[in-house]
Every structure is written in C-alpha cells, then in structure tokens.
C-alpha cells in the first residue's frame, strides 16, 4: 500500500484535531504542494494547512512546495518554530 504518515504540531495539531494520521496516498499526488491541496480540501479542520506560514518537513528534513512525496514518507506540518 502507498501510505504516508502525517504529523501535525503546535496550533496546527489543535486545529486539525489530531497529532498524526496514516493517509493512503492518492494517485497523482507527488509533491508537497499537491498533498497540501489534497488535505486542505478534506474539510474546515484542514483549512489551516493553506496558511502560508505553515512549514513542511519530509522525513524530518525541511521541504519546499516542489519537494517530492512518496510512499512510506513521514510528512510533518507545523507553524514557524519558537524555541530557544
């Protein structure tokens, strides 16, 4: 199966209403931008994913909109970091 593990952090986790989920990767979704659009279309809880400040990491490395997404990847969505 072509599955992705998706993680949400901080206020994004609260808005989406879960910390993680397993998603069956729909055919044709091969980039971060396409995945974000797909998730965003699932409903109001996912609207926060459209916010431009939301960052994305693929397999624990920062990613851009055109970064490739494939089966087995760990995809994380989160707000700008505020540690230190």
């Amino acid at each position: 199966m072509t599955k992705l593990r998706i993680l949400y952090f901080a206020w994004l986790r609260e808005r989406v209403g879960r910390a993680e989920e397993i998603l069956a990767l729909p055919a044709g979704i091969t980039t971060v931008a396409a995945l974000r659009q797909h998730l965003n279309a699932r409903g109001p809880a996912y609207a926060a994913l459209a916010e431009p400040t939301v960052r994305v990491a693929i397999n624990q490395a920062m990613a851009g909109p055109m970064t490739a997404v494939g089966p087995g990847d760990e995809v994380a969505f989160f707000p700008p970091v505020t540690g230190g």
């Binding site: 990491a57 505020t82 540690g83 230190g84």
Partner: protein, 158 residues
Amino acid sequence: MARVAVQTAPFDIAAELAALTAGRPDIGGIGSFIGTVRDTAGERKLTAMTLEHYPGMTERALADIVAEAGRRWPLLGVTVIHRVGRLTPGEGIVLVLAASAHRAAALAATGFLIDWLKTRAPFWKREHFADGSTAWVEAKAEDDAAAAAWATTSPAEI
C-alpha cells in the same frame, strides 16, 4: 566533541561545564548562553510555559546546527541542551556552550548556535497566563533577521 540533548529535566550548568572541559587543556575559552523563562509576555503576567518539539527531527536539526558551527569556527567542544514540557518563570530553557582555544570563536559560535536554534530547530512555546488562558508564541521577525545575518557573515569578519 558535541553533546546535544532534549530533555524535561533541568540542566546543571556546572556539571555540563566540567564535562565539556574534562581532559581538554587545549581549551582557552568557553562561550555560554542560558535562556530562561520570563514572567511576562508583553503586558501580561506569565505563570508557565509549555514547550513542544518534534522528536527525532529536533535532535537531527540540533546536530546539523552544531556541525555547521564546527565548519565555521575551530571549536573544541559544544553542548546544546533544550528542555521541553512545562516550565515556570526563572527556569532554564536552553543551554549553549561553545569551547575553543580563543574567545572570539567561542563567543561567535555561541551566538550563531542560539540564533540558528531559534529559527531552525522544531520547538514550539505555549504561554500560560495568570488568568488561566494560553497562547502559542508567534515567531519573531527579529529572530529570522538575526539568523539570516550569520548566513552572510564569514568567520573571518567576526
């Protein structure tokens, strides 16, 4: 040479200094930064702060930042400890130690490490106020500017 840790427990600065310098008489200077929880956020009274992180990626990001510091300055040891969980005003959040033969590299590397940590390591702070409400801390433009300044400053200029 490098110690990176993400933990809920407080850090012991004296113990970390001793560990960093043990058996290293070639060290001539150690830069340090200790971040602590303030009791105010703007005008509001703060009672606590909760720090969330991305287990796995956080440790990896910190190791990458330490490695980058090692490429820029002749460091003889680095310690980065960041706490997570619930912290109250006065408690330490982050400890950065950078050791080198001379002070310029130690001090510059310390500044670089905390500036990059603040903008690149996946931690998020949530503030708890005296009235019981909470709010996620927003990223600051000045932190981005401080981190970006290092990208264009070569070690020779410091």
